[in-house]
């Protein structure tokens, strides 16, 4: 199956990139833009057709490598590859 993983900074953790992007958007005239936060997006295919086992696998990947759980949260969706 294929996992679409989004990794975001925990609430309250400083996001220098989001801050700078927001500034640039305002400079470009997008005054309406606010609360910009930047994160990572990762796609992974797992050779695993059973959703539960795939989920368990992806869960472990996020915990052990993909997300820095000290400052980041993660979420994912699974779909048939």
């Amino acid at each position: 199956m294929k996992a679409r993983i989004t990794i975001t900074l925990k609430p309250g953790v400083l996001d220098p990139q989001g801050k700078a992007i927001e500034g640039a958007l305002h400079a470009l005239g997008f005054g309406a833009a606010g609360n910009v936060r930047q994160g990572k997006y990762i796609e992974v295919e797992v050779a695993e057709s059973d959703p539960d086992r795939a989920r368990a696998e992806v869960e472990r990947m996020c915990k052990e490598l993909l997300a820095n759980t000290i400052i980041e949260n993660y979420a994912y969706e699974l779909e048939a590859a």
């Binding site: 990139q17 992007i21 640039a24 930047q38």
Partner: protein
């Protein structure tokens, strides 16, 4: 004969602006104008330099936010009107993001920041930038970047090669552009490219950092001396 007028654009986060100014002054005998990105207008210039550094922290994509700053609209206008523009390192990234030069500079193949001297083969000498080099000569410049892997699609590359728009290529001691000599995974070992008219140059290596005999090399000085000579009005 009037000396050339040079302007160095300073973005928030630029940090090689002084280095470029020092190298220009050494060749020119007088300091260039330092232009803050937010300044109302850009002085009349025979040469515009976009220096190295981390404009806007290199956040989002290196050079992306600087490319959209107001002063760049004017830089683009002047460049299209034929004013020579030199983009070094972050300046090269800004030039591609501003679409003055094709392609993009992506994360180094090693994924690491890399700071060291590299060898470059001079591909062309019929420009204001390279006139003081010998065609095919192997020169030594430092690199210092994390996003220096030049990427463009096949047809763009074909066009660049066909039109002789490659300025410098990473090479070995014999001038061969080998994979081992390619420090960052750039397509075709490309270290720098010109626009169609050869008046806009973007390169990742830092000529301004080896333009002084006390800094273990002067290969970079020739670029600034060539510019001063050819742009004296």
């Amino acid at each position: 004969m009037a000396l050339m007028k040079a302007s160095v654009i300073v973005f928030p986060g630029s940090n090689c602006d002084r280095d470029a100014a020092v190298a220009l002054e050494a060749a020119l005998g007088r300091p260039p104008a330092m232009v803050w990105h937010g300044d109302a207008e850009l002085p009349a210039s025979d040469l515009i330099v976009l220096p190295g550094g981390f404009s806007y922290g290199d956040y989002l994509r290196s050079g992306a936010m600087a490319a959209h700053s107001p002063v760049m609209r004017e830089v683009v206008r002047r460049a299209k009107a034929g004013t020579p523009v030199l983009g070094i390192c972050n300046g090269f990234q800004v030039l591609t993001e501003a679409r003055l030069l094709p392609g993009v500079l992506m994360r180094n193949a090693t994924l690491k920041f890399i700071c060291k001297d590299v060898r470059l083969r001079v591909e062309r000498t019929d420009t204001s930038f390279a006139r003081h080099y010998k065609e095919g000569a192997v020169v030594r410049f430092p690199i210092a970047h994390k996003d220096g892997a030049y990427f463009a699609d096949e047809e763009t590359l074909k066009r660049l090669e066909g039109e002789g728009r490659i300025a410098f290529r990473y090479c070995d001691a014999e001038g061969r552009p080998t994979p081992e000599a390619n420090p960052n995974g750039s397509r075709n070992n490309i270290a720098g490219i010109y626009n169609e008219t050869g008046t806009v140059l973007g390169l990742m290596p830092h000529p301004e950092r080896l333009a002084d005999p006390n800094l273990s090399g002067t290969d970079g000085a020739k670029m600034f001396e060539g510019l001063v000579e050819s742009l004296a009005a």
